[in-house]
Symmetry: C2
Subunit: 210 residues, 2 copies
């Protein structure tokens, strides 16, 4: 995906077929529970991780593809939790402040994680923006806190923080909100998951094959 | 891992303990087959993916940590296959040419993947450098081809391309060479795997806790 040559496209096409088969094996009859566009996102995630288990781990809440598409078409900014996530997103306006000196200083001073300080520093953009989280559970928890306490409301959250501490819980909490979201169940997630999900929506907005 | 605050460090510490337990559950008695430094790399990979299966998928061939440490201490350049991988590596001198216009043009003209064109464009640096591949099997296959046909010899290859087409085979082929390498068995791999492995060696070179 992003392939420009015959060789690259052949690999992508063969991969797509295998990915579809793997997803069918995992989901069985439940395949019918997903829309075509949702299945396109799941295919991208399984393609990016080579891990068919994601077929049953990706959750869609509050019409995230519909809201995400509108946000992309409105040229809403995307706020990423880490630089790796930013680097992977195929979109003009992607912001990530985690490596900024000021964020580092605020984190030390207020004794919060850099991820939390980074989300706070971007909250004006997050309100009405798209948040993509591929690493830090504390970043996702801060987005949810800002939503509850200050009414900060993203148009879409891709919630794929990874890890055995707080990641699963942060995503469960996200799914209790009214924020449109795509998230993974359990500890698994990560940069390729988050990036492939948002790139799927960006591709849809350009009428590319998802 | 990169945590600067009490909160961040607590999460990292708790995560580390859980990761160790998960690895022990997967490896059982085979835990003793790995050196302390190798186990440190495996811990980072499982931490980055929250996927304990990686405990048994990470391979170390031809003393990769020893050679990698020497290469890092010699300030050898790191060549990454994609921008996401580059963005995650905590090192000064990381190069990735895949998004360069010239690489795009060469790929189209010669009908190879952009990843292959990108590796060819960097081959002078790859000879004696460190190659980190977190996405493209064709990039890894090109590194191996350059090694066999032109004697281009990296000091270390992190081989973690991902996917159901060519990825597993490319890594198997890597393991038949004499190049020091860390690679994953099977289709799984990806940016977090590649990045956490090389960052583990970089941390070791600074005497940080791996």
């Amino acid at each position: 995906m992003g392939a420009v040559t015959k060789d690259g496209k052949e690999i992508a096409d063969r991969s797509r077929e295998i990915v579809k088969t793997k997803i069918s094996e995992v989901l069985g009859k439940n395949v019918v529970l997903y829309s075509k566009d949702e299945m396109g996102i799941i295919e991208r995630v399984v393609h990016a991780t080579a891990d068919p288990e994601y077929s049953k781990l990706v959750n869609f809440d509050n019409k995230p593809i519909e809201h995400g598409l509108k946000a992309i078409n409105d040229e809403s900014p995307i706020i990423a939790d880490i630089s790796m996530v930013k680097a992977g997103i195929r979109y003009e306006d992607v912001l990530c402040t985690i490596s900024e000196k000021k964020v580092f200083e605020v984190a030390k001073k207020e004794q919060v994680t850099r991820a939390v300080a980074s989300i706070r520093a971007s909250k004006e953009l997050i309100d009405g923006g798209i948040v993509v989280i591929g690493n830090a559970p504390t970043a996702l928890l801060e987005v949810i806190r800002l939503n509850k306490k200050e009414g900060i409301t993203p148009k879409l959250v891709i919630g794929a923080p990874v890890g055995f501490v707080k990641a699963a819980e942060s995503k469960e909490l996200l799914r209790t909100t009214k924020i449109p979201s795509i998230s993974t169940i359990g500890p698994k997630g990560g940069t390729p998951v988050a990036v492939s999900a948002i790139n799927g929506i960006i591709a849809l907005s350009k009428n590319e094959r998802i």
